[in-house]
Structure formats: C-alpha cells, structure tokens
C-alpha cells in the first residue's frame, strides 16, 4: 500500500507539468490579455506599451520558461486583473468552495444512499418507480434552472432562505441543495443497482437463512459492498464541485473558485487560471488517492490485487 501511494504521489509531478503547459498554450492562443485590459478603442501604441511593460511581447517559449522557473520557486505569478499574488487570491477563495462542496457532498450522500437502499428494498413498487423517476429528473435538470426556481419559491415568494451570498448555514441550504440534487440523482440508482446485485449473492442468502434480521443483512452485509461504486462516483464528482460549480456559484453569488476562474478566463488572466487549475488538479489528485484508499478499506480484496 505504501509503495502504491508513493508511486501515485510521484505521478503527480509530470501530471502537473503537463497540465500547466496545456493551460499555458490554451490561454496563449486564446487571445491577447492586453486587449481585455484596455478599452476596446485604445490605440495600438498604448497597447504595445502595456504589452511590453507586462512582458507579454516576449516569445512564447521565453514566457513559458519564466513561468516555469517561477513555479519552481513556488511563485505562480501576479494576476493582471488584480495585480496581486495569484496563488494568494486562489487560496482566499478555497474555503468558500470547500465549504459548499463538502456540504453538497454530504447532502447528496444523506439523500442519495437512503433512497437508493429504499428503492432496492422496495423493488418494482410505486416508491421504487417514483425514486427512479426523480433520479432521472435530477440528472436531466440543469442546475441553473433548479437554482433559480429554488430562489424564486423558497427565497422570494416564501422568504425562508436568503436569496444569495455566503454567510451562516442558512446561506448554504439552497446552493448546497442545487448541487447535491444532481449528485444524489447519480448516487441513488447506483446504490439501488449495486444493492440489487448484492442482495442476489449467495452470502446474503446464507445470512438470511441463518435467521439474521433483515436490517442486519442490509446494513451490515450488503450495504458495505454496495459502497464501492458510491465512493467511485463521489471521487469523480469532487473535482467538478471544486472547479466546476461555476453556474451554481454564479446563480447564488457564492464567492468561490468557479467564479474566479471564469472571470480569469474571460480576462485571459494567465496567473490566476494557472494557479486555480493547479490547485484544482492537486485537490482532484488528492481525492482520487483518498478514493483508492477508501476502496481498500471497504473491500480489502482490492488491496490484495
């Protein structure tokens, strides 16, 4: 296990280099950052002066070389837009993003798993069909629409929750639910199908024939094995929640990474995009490692393989 973890951690280094190069190339070819900084009707001469002052007139490889050498020193550069240390700005946003992501994930698990089990237990019943239907709806429903509807009905027409912004628990409920609904809609059918598969297994039949209570059979014997795909789907969803909760963050004015990244992309603010992408990549790698460790804990046979 230790050797496996070391190997995975070492793999991070080339991955980060490849990501940073890809982002650099994409932003470089996307356009001229100076065009986004000065008014549309600024003169060519004014743009040229600013371009030189910011070092943007240097050849591509030289610019990338400077970026790499600074990155080695832990300096990801200064934001063109904010004129501040890019990494600092990204870290400033991370708590808001992590708060929303962890709350949404928790909510998704709390909603998704019980309904998945319920659905499996009551297979082909009205409840099973209803839960499956809602799951399909949850996957199909665009998050911005759900967010706007929740604001309309639970914040404007019935002022139960704040419309937007970050604050106490009450501010988390609507954006958290908006994100959680889509994820729970993926967890529920997954739990249902893996529970159904497991409930057919010989060892479950044995457990039942031993006279164990159905509750014990479900939660102690079947559920743990049904968790493996759930962990997999969570590991896949977390990077999306960290970097891609953009629409939900925008709808609810949640000051997280998603909003920062999209503004930086529109403004071609290379330093912020690089810093944010590298942080998101590191978080993603961390969670995928965590998921691997969790697989092993849930199912020791994986480790033996």
């Amino acid at each position: 296990m230790k050797e496996y973890l070391c190997r995975r951690i070492l793999q991070i280094i080339p991955v980060l280099f490849i990501i940073s190069f890809a982002v650099f190339v994409l932003i470089y070819v996307a356009g001229d950052p100076v065009a986004m900084m000065l008014p549309s009707d600024a003169t060519d001469a004014d743009r040229a002066v600013l371009r030189t002052a910011l070092g943007l007139d240097r050849p591509f490889l030289e610019q990338y070389g400077i970026f790499l050498s600074n990155m080695m020193k832990g300096n990801l550069g200064r934001s063109f837009r904010y004129r501040e240390d890019a990494l600092g700005i990204v870290f400033e946003r991370l708590p808001a993003t992590l708060e929303l992501a962890s709350f949404s994930m928790l909510l998704a698990v709390v909603i998704g798993i019980p309904f998945g089990i319920w659905s499996a237990k009551a297979r082909n019943s009205f409840m099973d069909i209803f839960i499956t239907g809602v799951s399909v709806l949850g996957r199909a429903m665009p998050s911005f629409w759900l967010g706007i509807m929740l604001i309309l009905f639970l914040a404007v027409k019935n002022p139960l929750f704040p419309v937007s912004g970050r604050g106490g628990l009450e501010h988390l409920i609507l954006p958290g639910f908006t994100l959680a609904f889509g994820i729970a809609a993926q967890i529920t059918p997954l739990v249902r199908s893996s529970m159904l598969e497991i409930l057919q297994q010989d060892y479950i039949r044995t457990a039942r024939s031993k006279g164990l209570a159905e509750r014990v059979v479900i939660y102690k014997h079947a559920f743990r094995n049904a968790l493996v795909p759930v962990v997999a789907i969570m590991a896949v969803q977390i990077p999306g929640l960290i970097g891609g909760a953009l629409i939900t963050e925008t709808v609810f004015s949640w000051p997280g990474l998603g909003q920062l990244v999209i503004q930086a992309i529109y403004g071609l603010d290379m330093a912020i995009v690089q810093a944010a992408v590298l942080v998101i990549a590191l978080v993603t790698i961390f969670f995928s490692l965590l998921a691997d460790v969790l697989y092993c804990l849930i199912d020791p046979r994986i480790q033996q393989r």
């Binding site: 549309s40 937007s164 709808v251």
Partner: protein, 507 residues
Amino acid sequence: MTGKVLKFFAAAFLLMFFSGSSFAANERILTIAMGSDVLTFDAQNHLNTSTDCVLNNMTNMLYRKDANAEMVPELALGHEQINEKVWRFKIREGVTFHNGDPLTAEDVKFSFLRAATDTTLKEYPYFKVIKDVRVVDDYTVDIETFEPLPTLLRLVSKAGADILPKKYIETNGWDHFLKNPVYSGQFEFVSWVRDDRVVIKPYEGYWGGMNTEWDEVHFRVIPEVSTRVGELLTGGVDIIYNVSPNEWTRIGNNKGTSLVNGETTRIMLLVMRCTEGTPTADKRVREAIDFAIENKVLADVLLSGSGTPTRTRVSRGVTGFDPSLYNTYCYDPERSKKLLAEAGYKDGKTLEITFTAPRGRYLMDSEVAQMIAGMLEEVGIKVRLELLEWTSFNSLYVAKKNREMLMIGLADNYFDANYPLIHYTKDRAKGETDFSNDEADSLYKIAAKNMNHEERVAQYQRIQQIAAEERPHIALYQLKANYGVNDRILFVPRIDELSRIEEIHRK
C-alpha cells in the same frame, strides 16, 4: 433510517422558516448590488465601472464631475493658467487621509506623476500627456503638459486622477495599500471579500463633514440578474445595477420597488470598413446600409425604450456633442435599394457582407444584430452574421480583423469629444476602418490644442457632421442604464453610471 432523514430536513426547514426574519436589512445600511466585483483598490489601474462605483466614494480629486458631468472643484480651491501648457492649482487645506495624515501638494505630485510615468498602469494612456508636476508650496501645484491641453480639467476629474497617500504607500508598500486602502474621500474602507462584497463607512474626519445618513454602505457582487432582482424584491439590497428588460415587470409590479433608468455615454454603432477593395469602401453602400436600418425600432421595440436613436459617436452630455444628430436617424428602404443599384448591385448582382457582433456583452446585443441583419436582407443585402463571445470578439476587434461591418458599444469616460472623435483621424482609423478625410483630420488636430472653448466645440461638431455624412461609423443608439430601486431610497442615476453615496438618500 429514512424517517430520521426526513425528520432532520423537516427540522432544518422549520429552523430556517422561523429565522427568516433575520434577513431583513438595517435601515441605516445602504446595500448596492453590482454585476461584477471591484478589481483593485488602486484607483489608477482598473478602467472598470464597478470598481469606480466604490472608489469614487473613497477618494478625492482636484475637480470632480457632478451629476450632470459638469466639473466642480473638490480638493482644488481653483485654478489659473500660467501659460498654455502650465496650470496652477490651489489645494484645500486641512484635508486628511483616512489614516489621519494631511493631504498636501506632495501627494498630488506623487499621484499624477505615477499615472503619467508608470507604463504598466491602465490609466497611463490617459495621463501620459502630463510632462511634469511641480510643488510650488504645501498647498499649490503646477501641472505641465507636453502640448497645450484644453481638456486638462476633464483629465483631473476622471477616474485615475484620485489623490493617493504618498507617505502611507512609501512607508507600507503597495501590497499593504491594496489590502488596506487609504484615501481622503467621504467614505473609508472597512472590508473586501472578493466576489462577495465591499464594505465602506463614513470617514469621521472628512473635510466636508461626515456623512450622517448611512452607517455603512455594502457593495454586493451578484452576477446573475435574476438573483439581483430576487434580492431587491426581498429587501436584501436597495439598488441593483443592469436590469434586463425581461425583469422590468417583476420590479415594477412589486410593491416597494421601482425601475429607474438614466442615460449612459455608451453609443452602439456599426464600424464600417472603408478599405479599398471591400464593398463597403463605396460610400453609397454605407449610406444604403444606414438607410435600411430603422434605429427607432431597435431602441423602442427590442430594447423597450432603453436607447435613444443617434447619428453621432459623441454622446449627449459630453463636451462637443452635436445635438442636431441626436434623437434622429435615417430610414428609407426605397432609397437604400436605389443607392445599392447605383453602386452596381442590380440585375442579379447581390451585395454580400460579413457582419460581426458580440453576444452577451451589451443589452440585447445579439438580438439587435439579428434584427439589423433582417433589415439589411429586406433591401436585398446578403448578410453573413458572425456572433461571437466577448473575449473572441474583442480580440478580433483589437487585432483589426473586422470585416465589412462590426457592431460595438463605445463609451466615453473622458466626457470630451476629443476622445471619441480620434476614430475619424487617418492614423487612428488605419487598419480598422481605413477612413480618411483631410478636413476631419486637420480639424481634430487643431481642436485638440485649441484653448478657445466655443471654437473647439464648433470644430468637433463639424467633425461629427462629416462622420455622419461619410459613415465610417453608423451610430445606432445611445444606451440607457436600468436600475431597480427600493422605494425607501431616493436615487437619481448619473450619466457616468457611478453610485455617489452623498447623492443617495433615505426617503
């Protein structure tokens, strides 16, 4: 287990229900919601209206624009012109920065010289006309320009002319200043959570007297327009910016909120390529396009009145504006067809043009572009409409890769025709419209240095008449800005689109 989960949610729901009243706002706190965040607290490096909305309340300038864009003295007690390139300003005594340091001529010199010499600053292109700033005594400065500059008062009253605290910045460094900004204006900095809110409060030691109407002002960042409206309707915010027409009814029909609109300096226009070899190089073709477009329909129907037809790039409210070209337009499809025939587009020969427009940048921009394309098709012009997202659009425009016709909205935060009319000079037009007119060129150069105000205005108006006749730009309409306002607030929009807290009152 499921039962427990349901109970948990029911409890949480009830908790929220009963704590709902805690969202109500404090009446001495003014909350303004904007679509985008402040970029920086460096007043000389943003070129951004949202940033200026906050900063203009925290800073002082020698002169400042009032609600009608007229320049009134702020820190300056007055000015005199020593010669045609040197202006002397007497500065108000007893002014202090928010940290208590006195504001003197040294701070004024530091601020203007920085803007005029630091090429990395976004305001540098405007302030590079300043050659030197000399301290005469503690409360007197001379500003010298490279050339005679009739627009100097416009320059010292525009964003970027804000006076910075020299001693505070030199002692603590820029990074500290940007996190703990100190100016000398009516409001001082309290906090900034990026993409969430900026909080400012009245400065007790303000030379003009402390603002006693508000305890705090919150500028909230709410990018999504329907969310901004939701906050306004529930009393979470008092004023919201940039309300799109589809939300007007919701605000107007709601008890306790109103829709308010005001003019801006932004002119939506078509940039016409006059480069030899392109179909639009023929003046008759440009004229035919202008006669095919019914500006009033665009402004009244599509924008629901959020624009006023115009034929000039200079906005109403700007020095040098020609009123005869405002609230008027050319529309005559028959004449348009005739002009096209005269230009050779007849007997089966059709004019084909590429029309580039941005999507999602200006009010209803892509809808307006589609309607214009439809109007042009009606007179027999075949239009290839290219709708681009802003980053791609702006890169294309800046790289001067515009084809026959391009739609853009240009504002003027200088408030002088000198700024917009540069487009009709040969040098500036090169590569973009390739428009060239000797009279316009020479008038622009003369007006730029002409210290006689009346003569200068007449020269700028003549250039506008030439542009309206030659059509390197076809102006469409001057945009209005729309705000949603809580009825407890008295708010009159300004043409510079800024929120000046001293002009916002509780009813």
